[in-house]
Symmetry: C2
């Protein structure tokens, strides 16, 4: 009975697993260097958890299930609701700032396509309890810091940064009514994907006043924070939002990632829950979906039944990232290959007991070792060592029975040396 895997999922054979581990380990290292602590939650939660933040439409994209008591559950499509639940549960005992990261496995019942699978891994970093723009800058910096560590440069990727607070202030300053903001966000979010004339036509349809439409068009064409005050009417809200965004750019500059960063008012982010700075990192060629995205969401903890606590964060999936790293030649060149340190061979059957003992001792010293189950002659064992990509082969034979000496063959150079077994094991210990 042959059963196939489910479409949109991946099998991680050892070489694919090595790639996944390299990516996930990189996420963890960057998180820890940037002062984040790791957390995780369950793979499933109550279904309604995922409706709080993203509404009923998300139910379409969920793998939902029932437990034996008939309760509605769902496999997590994102970890932010779990984060909000966990923080709210211990809100009084967690020292702030809460600077946490996670690398959850997530599932979405989407149609699989390039860079989008039904099951994937997503790096999440969040800073909770800080309304300072420094926290927004830290989230953007940490995302770029990881990407930079993979070998990507400012020739490859760009962090496109904007602010929902600024956008709301601008719309307010030109007297767009507040109940029209969401529809406007939805349109502005599409700008990058539409031909300019289509975007303008749709905008003029939505905004009947031509001055309003002109200001929005001018604002959306900007690529520097310094120019904002030239094109939009200034009021307290707009000025506050500009100062906030400038402060983020100033921190990023001091942290040395200016080359990666640009102001882009076209970054709106679909989700309704963002309240401040928003950003996405894109490949410069622009053929892929966003590599990551995030921003400030100051209302979420309150929406999940907790106090109003400011928060800012980022999510980066593994699928688009892996495509980009592969295209840039940064994946196969950096993912470590299998690394079996020792293969222990015996030249004759009298050496078999010693083969077991030496293998067990090498392993006990924290080094990897295998031996052949098939055995056969020494040349067959050396062949097996080569097929397992062993770095060195330990040959146990006459020298061992005579004087407890091991022959060590370097599998790359072919060089052979002899050494006393005890001395060899002592060396391993100090490695």
């Amino acid at each position: 009975m042959k059963i196939p895997p489910v479409k949109g999922t991946r099998d991680f054979y050892p070489s694919e697993m090595a790639r996944r581990n390299w990516i996930v380990d990189g996420w963890k290292t960057a998180s820890i260097c940037n002062g984040f602590e790791e957390y995780d939650g369950p793979i499933f939660e109550y279904l309604k958890m995922f409706q709080v933040k993203s509404g009923d439409e998300i139910v379409e994209q969920l793998f939902s299930l029932q437990d034996r008591g008939g309760r509605d559950l769902a496999i997590r499509p994102e970890i932010t609701p779990t984060l909000a639940r966990m923080v709210n549960q211990q809100i009084n005992s967690l020292p702030r700032p809460i600077k946490w990261f996670s690398v959850p496995r997530l599932c979405r019942a989407e149609r699989p396509q390039k860079g989008r699978l039904r099951e994937f891994f997503q790096w999440n970093i969040d800073i909770i309890g800080v309304d300072s723009p420094e926290a927004d800058a830290e989230v953007i910096f940490t995302s770029l810091d990881y990407l930079r560590r993979t070998g990507l440069t400012s020739e490859d990727i760009r962090a496109r940064i904007s602010s929902r607070r600024l956008l709301a202030a601008v719309l307010g300053a030109i007297s767009i009514p507040e109940d029209g903001f969401d529809a406007m966000y939805a349109l502005l979010d599409k700008k990058a994907k539409l031909p300019p004339e289509t975007f303008e036509a749709l905008l003029r349809e939505q905004v009947s006043d031509s001055d309003q439409a002109r200001t929005i068009m001018d604002f959306m064409a900007l690529d520097s924070v310094d120019e904002i005050e030239r094109v939009v009417p200034l009021d307290e809200n707009v000025e506050g939002a500009i100062a906030n965004l400038k402060s983020v750019f100033a921190s990023l500059d001091l942290m040395g990632v200016t080359d990666f960063c640009v102001f882009d008012p076209g970054i709106v982010r679909g989700l309704a829950y963002y309240t401040g700075v928003v950003f996405e990192v894109h490949d410069i060629v622009g053929e892929l979906r966003a590599i990551c995205g995030g921003g400030r969401y100051d209302n979420l903890l309150r929406d999940f039944g907790g106090p109003a606590i400011p928060a800012t964060g980022m999510g980066m999936g593994d699928c688009v990232l892996e495509i980009l790293l592969h295209e840039k030649g940064l994946l196969d060149s950096q993912v470590p290959r299998r690394h079996l340190e020792y293969f222990v061979a015996c030249a004759d059957s009298e050496s078999e007991p010693a083969m077991y003992e030496i293998t067990a001792k090498i392993r006990a010293e924290g080094h990897s070792a295998n031996f052949s189950y098939k055995r056969g002659g020494l040349s067959k064992q050396l062949k097996e060592a080569a097929s397992q990509k062993a770095q060195r082969c330990i040959i146990i034979g006459q020298e061992y029975s005579d004087k407890q000496e091991l022959v060590i063959k370097d599998m790359t150079t072919g060089d052979q040396t002899s050494t006393g077994a005890d001395a060899f094991l002592t060396t391993l210990r100090s490695d």
Copy 2:
């Protein structure tokens, strides 16, 4: 709107996450030292995948779901079916032996109780393509090697080893009909949990012939492989099974774990799919469920539509293990605490730019660093450094603006030293 977590799942706050990572990293290290390579599969598979090996009864214990095409899926309750599917898919190109490990997240719709949750992590090791008893010994050795690395000794745990092949041979040698084997396995599997007189009564009920019953009773009372031939009639099958089991014990002896190992005919393992050596590791006090269990399963790949290829493996969950390690005082003493290397403080507001720069540079050198978002005076920042358990505090103030010097405060001893910023960063690089 407050939503609770689902019963039987766990939230991993940073301290629980550190414990889980310590356990999982230990599994990975032991696997790699013992020559295994890592793999993983999807979190869900077609529902019928899980029925092949374990029948319809497993459906009761599954979290099943449907995709949008109405196909029946299930969250994996174990990874062995995925392993069988993956190996069969690439059976002609995978070099053998296939020596693989995985640390999957698994879910079972069980009633939560001590050591048994609805969501858990399980270490799996498998050797495929080898019928030699050395492979069975390697699986047992690797399990013990991990447990030994945690600090558990032969005073704490015991590997109880038997053989389904031996049991079948013994039942055959005393003329129990083959279609009665499964019922017999089910009864013998219960022996450890029943009072001796109850077990004997049930056995005599199932086996009417009193000589047969006597032989089974005698066999089940053994604790050494050497005594088997004293109590059961010897035929070719029995002799072959004894030789096979003796060979496993001989390998374990040479690998230095004899103290941990005992022959225990009461180890049957419920699952019908075992065909040879079977084992479980238990705490010696015997108050917990098995820490791990496994054995030889030579028919599984064929059952999943592949060729008949011998295989042997082991699974160890994290729940019972964590309880035992905690009880033995081996958990909190060994799990590393949060390790923030540097907290960068500024003595005055002029030093803020340098604070960002130095922080970013420390991180770029691969070390962890934070700074205060709140700032306030130096003493407040030092307090925050202490609450984040920073090892050292870098103070940037007058010395820095005058002569580019940093003050480094050791947060354990309170000692302060000054050093040039460049020299400090160079030292970091070589760490």
